[in-house]
Every structure is written in C-alpha cells, then in structure tokens.
C-alpha cells in the first residue's frame, strides 16, 4: 500500500507517492469510532430490510403481520432489533459529530476525544432508554 519509494520524476504516468494507511497508525478512539460509523452505516443499509419487511407485512394483512410479530418476539429477533436500534442511534450521533466537525468546530485534541466519547456513551445510553420506554409502552417485557 505505502509506496514511498522516490520514483524518477519522468513520464506523465509515473507512480505517485501514497500517504501511509491504517496499519501505520496507532489505533485511537477517534479512528475506531470513525470505522464504527462506517460499519453501523453498512449495517443500517441492510437493516432497512427489517423496516421493509415490517411495512410490507402490515400492508399485506394480519397473517403476514403475525409472522413479523412472532420473529421480533424471539430472542434472535430481539437481538437483531436491539442491534439495529444501537446502530441507528450510534450512526445518528456519529453523524451529528461529523456535522460539527464539518463546521471546523471541536477539532482540538481534547474536544474531539470528548465528542467521540460522548457519541459512544450517548448511543449506548439512548439505546437503553429507547428499549426501556418501549417495554414500558408495551406494559412490561413479554
């Protein structure tokens, strides 16, 4: 990946130097969270199939809807839904962080670490709050 060799500066198609990539750097929280932002984005990309399944079933009729309700009630269904909730909230908060950075605010070392930690703590606690409210709305776990 890292081609740092000095090529002779002749010919229009000479190999140009590339900047060093991921494996060169010490892993940091901001870097990890940047990767997680992309992973949650990719997860949500396929996770929207759950939303599509839910909506199409609701539009199809009571029997199809009962199947979705059954699956979401299973342990695997709940785990997937919990992961989807976390990915959604993490990607949303990570997105807000990136929007703040887009305005060139919060770029100092301490500030960007704080924003990154806030994203992590915020997304975990918001996920728990959403599920707590969800269970309360249903009148307790079923």
């Amino acid at each position: 990946m890292a081609e740092l060799k000095a090529e002779p500066a002749a010919g229009p198609r000479r190999t140009r130097p590339l900047s060093p990539h991921l494996q060169i750097y010490r892993p940091m929280l901001t870097m990890t969270m940047s990767i997680v932002h992309r992973i949650t984005g990719a997860a949500l990309y396929f996770g929207i199939l759950l939303l599509a399944w839910w909506l199409v079933s609701a539009a199809s009729g009571p029997n199809a809807y009962a199947n979705v309700e059954w699956f979401m009630g299973t342990l695997i269904g709940r785990a997937v839904l919990f992961g989807y909730t976390f990915a959604l909230l993490h990607h949303m908060l990570g997105g807000i962080r990136h929007l703040i950075w887009d305005t060139l605010h919060g770029m100092e070392p301490a500030e960007r670490e704080l924003l990154t930690i806030a994203t992590l703590v915020g997304s975990i606690s918001l996920t728990l709050v959403v599920w707590l409210v969800g269970y309360l709305a249903m009148g307790g776990p079923r």
Binding site: P12, R38, G41, A42, L44, Y45, I48, L49, L51, A52, L55, V56, A58, A59, G61, P62, Y65, A66, T85, L88, M92, G95, I96, H98, L99, D102, V130, V133, G134, A137, M138, G139, R142
Partner: protein
C-alpha cells in the same frame, strides 16, 4: 500541472470536471450532508412511531401507519434514508473496490437494492394510507 501537454488549450477546470472515482464532483458529498441533517428529526420520529405501535393489533397498526401525518413522516424517512444510504454505500464501494468491473457492477447493485427497498417501503405505506 498534472498531465499538461505543451499544446493543450484546455483549461484546468475542463481537465478535472467529471473526474473522481465516481466520475462526479462534490455533489454527493453535499447531498450526504443535507440528507444527514434531515435524517436527525426523521430518525427520532421513526423511533417514536415504532414505540407507539409496539404490541398493538394489526388493525390498529394499519390505522396509525395509514394516517396522513404518520404516513408522510414515514415516507420522508424512507426517501431520505434511501438517498443517504445510496450515497454512503457508493462511497464504501469506491473506497474498497478498485477493479473497474467489480466497481461498476457493485455500483449498479447498490442502485438496484436501494430503489427496490425504497419502493417496497413507499408502496406499503401508500397502500396502508389509501386502503384496498
């Protein structure tokens, strides 16, 4: 100047226009920001709607999802998300796939997937709204 030939009369802008891995400029970058800002209130609204529908009967879910305000919010969420995830997956593909054949096949698959899922969701909501 990169690749500048002695007798080249083209301007610098002419030579960079239409370049970049996707052969387009900064439009996608900007549209990704626009859809991310729109996505914040829409995501919160989606979560509220889903919580409000938890554990309800099919008839109640149909009635609530089909009511105009809820249906409009859901449609906005889906259309906004579809465009946002189309750009996002395109960015991932362009970052990791360098072979032209796989790259353009993946970009095509991205478009097909997003349109299919987006249309399925939108159709379902419209059907819930208009009955039949």
């Amino acid at each position: 100047m990169i690749g500048q030939q002695p007798n080249d009369m083209r301007t610098a802008a002419r030579r960079v226009r239409g370049l970049g891995a996707a052969r387009s400029g900064t439009r996608d970058f900007w549209h990704q920001r626009v859809t991310s800002v729109a996505g914040i209130p829409l995501t919160i609204a989606l979560i509220v709607i889903v919580i409000a529908l938890l554990g309800r009967s099919h008839a109640a879910v149909v009635q609530i999802l089909g009511s105009p305000v809820v249906a409009i919010i859901m449609l906005l969420f889906i259309l906004n998300s579809a465009y946002h995830m189309w750009i996002g997956m395109q960015e991932i593909i362009l970052d990791y796939l360098h072979d032209d054949k796989f790259k353009f096949l993946s970009l095509m698959a991205n478009t097909f997937f997003v349109i299919a899922v987006g249309l399925a969701c939108a159709f379902a909501i419209l059907k819930l709204s208009f009955g039949v």
